[in-house]
């Protein structure tokens, strides 16, 4: 019915547009206050030579107002229909045609059929050039085409006015037509729109919303510059999100803007990206301040965390108390919990793509700040204005200085510190070519009482070339290198002095192509990654050491993937995203592989043979297809329904046999024994805008299965393990959950309530007794926390002062308790319950923060910002961990609370 009506209107449009001529003025007196539109029509038709055409449904709620200044029908109609999706047109014969969504356009000149089309770009208008009552009015396309039938394509680039950076994730929305799109990572957007006058809204969190009155005659390009706001106060700002949710194809994609996450309360005065991600329904961690996070029942190594497009292998400092990436470099963060686009691969549960800032193109700028634990500084600016820019950020702790002050001999000699550095240079060769080089390094080191020294490092380098073939066909080629290593060394016993190291290094080449073709957005490309893993080396650390230098054989592998993906708008009611990724993996020698007696559980004593692979010999190969499909049904302009399936494959495992991942866990490539992890997820989502679009509600339901996960035989030490396959237990996982969110996203008071019910189970698949966990039954995973509630509340007092708070509640994570003891030669030994049979107490926490900006005048030299936070306001002693110590006579249980009281903090920073 919807379609049919549209066609009728279009036919009417063509008909009407032929009938040209001046409209007569129909004089009326304004005595129609509060009567219904239908009654009004009856009266007007009785006194004037006019005839109205409309559909009852459109006007049933329409009542006339008081228009004292109106003396014409046109004036009444103008006032009456203002703010609605209705337009009217009065032709020369007195026919009053009401149209919905589409305005009737009348041209004064006939269509010049043979007129040569000018290139669309010649008609591009910059919104900044034409100011009209605060909003811009722009004419796009060849005016000669304006009476041509059909829809045309509107596209363009959105940039930040101050920094000239591309702004991705901007919602471009035409309210009357209920159509919209989102700008991609280059700030490019494209949408198919009927010709005519439209009001186009450009909105994004942290940016001042821009409305452009567009007179669209034909296909064309409209580039838009948006202004950032220091604090997102304008009520229109968040309207971006609701359209985003409806527009996005993926079920379970979330985008967080830096401005919004900086508003969140902090624990140690640090804005922290991973902690913000933990507020998203479906994302959990095993404990506060633990490293890693779990997305929809996936383990922590199943998250692809991308910085500059390269994977980060360790995403935290200080055991997870801080994220490894400084928030100063972050522009925005997108988390895909499901519906992972085909261009991403290599991890099965989620993608956390950290979008980074580019240097300011106009002028030098910077910021600096201190918090109780860290100090940070960032500098940016042009080297060649508008062409070559840089940005540098640095962050470090001064905790070593704090240690020196502690009056405890043990801690006095201890050290714990970290730093991280980010840098990016962007060079615009010309309009169509951009090159940027990015680098990142992070370092942590610990020394406990001058004995064993721990250090670990992340390093990332990325060189990227973006090329624009046409305004609708882009490519991005990049080479990246990412590595992670740790060293543990000790000289405490001279003849056993050692240094233990582990390193993972990957070098990747990526080619991504984006092609906007009519109603299609086609992405295709390839990924090629070379992995080199040093599983472990144990070397003497001084001359007197008797330690035998021992290095576990290096692992080498190639992972390649080709993908193609098409996002297309099938009908106004259904959009589809179909993608396919084909990935393959080869590990190769030199490598020696142990062969075990298949009648026994693998152990050193059941080795029967050794296969020696020569250099370059393929030790294992795996390949598979990863289909990804999303359907987005637009039920109406207020709600949509999405369904999504994706399969993902992962050729890398993080070996961890503790509840939380640790910096000393080792990465392991798939090999002769270890198979790739495969994840399958089906998700459905329903999204609705409520109460004049001020509220956004969503419900997402998912079911996921994971094959070839690893667990370990009891008590196995994984460090320096030559033949890890003998200690591995093959397990599979399943997870399901329901995520409900209600958000109020407009006004001075904003809040969101997210509730998740989710379960994650694991089942061991071994055949021998030491490979069977919980008798081979399904058991809850370490991060199975069924009930999870997150409430956030923001009150924006003014442009300078904002208040925010969040509350989280979750079921306690599962734990394995000791249940019985026995003695063996006077040693008290313990047996355990079934794995994860019990749970630690539930978790609940309330945080507050108040942010005060000293001055908002944009030309003042420095903008000071103060953030006052209280973490765990209620002082609840949440259980960080429950542990059991064997104290000779008894096995005693203890409960550790890390943040066992309210913790205030003050952060000061200023921008210049």
């Amino acid at each position: 019915m919807f379609m049919k009506l549209k066609i009728h209107i279009l036919i009417l449009l063509f008909f009407l547009s032929i009938n040209l001529g001046a409209q007569e003025k129909y004089g009326i007196s304004s005595q129609y206050k509060d009567i219904s539109f239908t009654d009004f029509v009856k009266k007007v038709e009785s006194i004037l030579p006019v005839k109205f055409y409309y559909i009852d449904d459109w006007v049933k709620d329409l009542k006339l107002g008081d228009y004292p200044d109106c003396t014409t029908l046109q004036c009444v109609m103008d006032n009456l229909l203002r703010g609605t999706s209705l337009y009217y047109y009065i032709d020369e014969f007195g026919n009053v045609v009401i149209t919905n969504n589409y305005a009737v356009k009348v041209s004064n000149t006939g269509v010049e059929k043979n007129n040569k089309f000018l290139p669309p770009s010649d008609f591009s208008g910059s919104a900044e050039n034409q100011h009209l009552a605060g909003n811009a009015s722009v004419e796009i396309g060849n005016p000669a085409e304006k009476n041509n039938p059909g829809n045309v394509t509107l596209s363009g680039y959105i940039t930040n006015k101050d920094t000239k950076e591309a702004v991705s994730g901007v919602t471009v929305f035409i309210k009357k037509l209920s159509i919209g799109t989102i700008s991609n990572e280059y700030g490019y957007y494209t949408m198919t729109v009927p010709r005519g006058i439209h009001v186009v809204q450009f909105s994004f969190i942290g940016m001042r919303e821009k409305t452009i009155n567009l007179n669209l005659n034909g296909a064309g390009e409209m580039n838009v510059e948006m202004n950032s706001v220091l604090i997102p106060l304008k009520e229109t700002v968040v309207s971006a999100q609701k359209s985003v949710t409806l527009q996005r194809f993926e079920v379970g994609a979330e985008k967080i803007n830096i401005t919004s996450f900086k508003l969140l309360p902090t624990s140690m005065g640090e804005s922290d990206i991973i902690k913000s991600v933990l507020l998203i329904p479906g994302v959990q961690s095993v404990g506060e301040g633990s490293a890693g996070f779990n997305v929809r029942g996936g383990s922590a190594d199943q998250n692809l965390i991308l910085l500059y497009g390269a994977p980060i292998y360790n995403s935290s400092h200080f055991f997870g108390f801080f994220s490894a990436v400084n928030s100063d470099i972050i522009k925005d963060v997108t988390l895909y919990k499901g519906g992972i686009p085909s261009r991403y691969g290599g991890r099965i549960s989620s993608v956390l793509d950290i979008g980074t800032k580019e240097g300011n193109r106009n002028e030098f700028a910077g910021s600096a700040g201190i918090s109780p634990i860290t100090a940070h500084v960032s500098l940016e600016g042009p080297i060649i204005k508008d062409t070559l820019t840089y940005i540098l950020t640095a962050r470090t702790t001064y905790s070593n200085w704090i240690f020196g002050l502690i009056n405890n001999p043990e801690l006095h000699n201890s050290r714990a510190s970290f730093y991280d550095l980010n840098g990016k240079i962007t060079y615009d060769l010309n309009k169509n070519n951009k090159i940027d080089f990015s680098a990142y390094t992070s370092h942590d080191s610990f020394r406990f009482n001058s004995d064993t020294v721990y250090s670990y490092n992340n390093n990332i380098f990325v060189l990227k070339w973006r090329h624009f073939f046409t305004s609708r066909f882009f490519s991005s080629l990049s080479i990246n290198n990412s590595s992670y290593n740790y060293n543990i060394s000790s000289q405490a016993i001279p003849n056993e002095a050692f240094v233990l190291s582990h390193k993972v290094n990957s070098t990747g080449f990526k080619a991504d192509f984006n092609w906007f073709l009519g109603r299609n957005e086609i992405n295709f490309g390839l990924d090629l990654t070379r992995y080199d893993v040093l599983p472990g080396s144990y070397l003497p650390n001084n001359d007197s050491s008797l330690v035998i230098p021992r290095t576990i054989e290096k692992e080498r592998a190639w992972e390649g993937a080709l993908y193609v993906e098409d996002k297309f708008i099938l009908t106004d009611f259904l959009s589809v995203n179909v993608g396919m990724r084909m990935s393959s993996y080869y590990s190769f020698g030199p490598q020696s592989v142990m062969i075990y007696n298949p009648d026994y559980s693998k152990s050193t004593s059941t080795i029967t043979d050794t296969l020696n692979f020569k250099s370059g010999g393929v030790t294992s190969k795996y390949a598979g297809l990863e289909p990804r499909v999303s359907l987005n049904f637009r039920i109406s302009d207020k709600n949509s329904f999405k369904i999504n399936y994706n399969r993902t494959r992962q050729y890398l495992h993080l070996l961890s046999n503790s509840t939380s991942i640790a910096p000393t866990d080792t990465w392991k490539l798939c090999d002769y024994y270890l198979k790739p992890q495969i994840g399958d997820q089906v998700a459905i989502g329903f999204y609705e805008l409520l109460f004049k679009n001020n509220f956004e509600a969503s419900a997402e339901l998912y079911y996921k299965t994971i094959k070839n996960m690893v667990d370990f035989k009891g008590g196995t030490n994984l460090i320096m393990d030559d033949n890890i396959e003998k200690d591995i237990v093959n397990v599979k996982g399943k997870a399901y959950g329901l995520e409900l969110v209600l958000k109020k996203t407009e006004g001075k008071i904003r809040y969101s309530i997210g509730y998740t019910y989710s379960r994650t189970f694991i089942k061991s698949l071994g055949t021998f007794s030491d490979e069977i966990i919980n008798s081979g039954k399904w058991f809850p995973a370490n991060f199975d926390k069924p009930n999870d509630l997150v409430v956030t509340f923001n009150y924006l007092f003014s442009r300078r002062i904002s208040f925010s708070s969040n509350y989280t509640y979750s079921t306690g994570r599962p734990i394995t308790y000791p249940i019985a003891t026995y003695d063996i030669s006077d040693k008290l030994l313990v047996t355990y319950s079934d794995r994860n049979e019990y749970r630690i107490p539930d978790y609940s926490r309330l945080d507050l923060s108040l942010k005060v900006s000293g001055n908002l005048k944009s030309h003042k030299i420095a903008h000071p910002n103060w953030t006052f936070s209280i973490y765990n306001l209620l002082g609840r002693e949440n259980v960080y961990s429950i542990y059991f110590k064997n104290q000779g006579e008894f096995v005693n249980g203890y409960k550790l609370s890390v943040f066992g009281r309210a913790i205030p903090s003050v952060t000061f920073s200023f921008d210049f």
Partner: protein, 378 residues
């Protein structure tokens, strides 16, 4: 993992907001598992296999012995040796017919003849590996900084062990030790000098396969804190060194990984460490403990050095003299208090000075019979 925990503690101390409280979990299990504690060696004398039931967490009762079982040991030459039950649950070999031989493989067989559980159990065949002699046991006065806050550093005595195997056969070592020390009460009482013995309660193992020579130097076997009175008079330690095969080494290593501390975020996820003894009738039955087959070498040293600051558990502050004046009966006499002086004084008739019993009678803690190795010369 232990270090990771220390580091974590370290980072928590930086924040200094943490707190630790005792916690007793509520569990609803009452699993009784068969516990096998068995060791046969190449040394003369009876070898013992103990069978018992595990105990619920937090209880410290004597384990229930598993009585009336048929226990045999067989070797790879098809010899079978029966064990006889001397004490309930304790089964011993006949020293006249059985002594372990290096290089032989031994298998343990158990049949529980209980009416509710007539199960058969068997171990893997285990090779007895040779063990080299202990080269030396020696000690050093050391200062150990331990604990946090303002607790003073401890002084004490660290006992080390050196050994090496020139034949490179023994790669995996385990040690057990028994400490014996003499103590003297400061009062003139009949039971004034006694001796105490204590067995090691830590797992002491070492793997030399990662070191170029099969040589262990300065293995820190035992730390004797000055907070005990072990070093006040004379102290002796007897160390037994056992050869292990790799499987048993891994068994002890896993137990060591798990038994120290479990449950924390960075602690190894606990799970049962499988025994080398299996139930033949029910493969799902989990047996605890281990059947150890090891060659053994031993060494004893004496320490009668002077150590400054060794605690005296019998000071007047500990052994509080209490005075009870006449008339009233002395409650708990012979249990908590011991009469030291019974001196009639006028008035009120008589006065009794008491101290806790342990301060007056050394047999409360030890035995007044000197061990046979305890001579004046060493």
């Amino acid at each position: 993992m232990k270090h990771i925990r220390q580091l974590l503690l370290l980072s928590l101390l930086v924040f200094d907001n943490s707190c630790i409280t005792p916690f007793i979990p509520k569990t609803n299990e009452d699993k009784e598992l068969l516990v096998v504690e068995g060791l046969i060696t190449d040394q003369p004398g009876a070898n013992t296999i103990k069978l018992s039931k595990s105990l619920p967490l937090g209880t410290r009762n004597v384990a229930t012995p598993v009585k009336g079982c048929t226990v045999t040991i067989s070797d790879d030459l098809n010899n079978t040796f029966s064990l006889s039950e001397t004490v309930a649950g304790t089964y011993v070999t006949d020293p006249s017919i059985f002594q372990g031989v290096v290089g032989r493989f031994y298998t343990l067989h158990i049949n529980i003849n209980a009416s509710d559980n007539n199960h058969n159990y068997e171990s893997d065949p285990i090779e007895m590996k040779p063990v080299p002699p202990i080269d030396s046991i020696y000690y050093q006065k050391v200062t150990i900084q331990e604990g946090s806050g303002n607790s003073a550093s401890q002084e004490g005595c660290q006992v080390y062990l050196n050994t090496h195997d020139p034949t490179n056969h023994c790669k995996f070592y385990r040690w057990e030790f028994t400490e014996t020390w003499e103590f003297i009460l400061p009062y003139t009482v009949p039971n004034k000098i006694c001796w105490i013995s204590d067995n090691s309660d830590m797992i002491n193992i070492k793997n030399t396969s990662i070191i170029a020579e099969d040589k262990i130097e300065q293995y820190p076997l035992n730390f004797i804190s000055n907070e005990t009175d072990r070093l006040r008079v004379k102290y002796s330690i007897l160390v037994n060194q056992y050869s292990l095969n790799e499987d048993e080494y891994l068994y002890w290593e896993k137990l060591q990984n798990l038994s120290e501390q479990v449950g924390g975020l960075y602690d190894m996820i606990p799970s049962a460490v499988p025994s080398n003894v299996y139930c033949l009738d029910d493969p799902n039955e989990k047996v605890q403990g281990y059947f150890s087959v090891s060659a053994r070498s031993s060494k004893r040293i004496f320490i009668r050095d002077h150590f400054a600051g060794v605690v005296n558990p019998y000071t007047d502050a500990v052994c509080i003299a209490d005075t009870i004046f006449g008339g009233a009966a002395i409650p708990n006499l012979n249990i908590w208090v011991w009469v030291i002086i019974d001196q009639p004084t006028p008035p009120p008739g008589f006065q009794v000075i008491t101290r806790t019993k342990g301060c007056y009678d050394c047999t409360v803690r030890g035995t007044n019979v000197p061990p046979d190795f305890w001579t004046e010369n060493n």
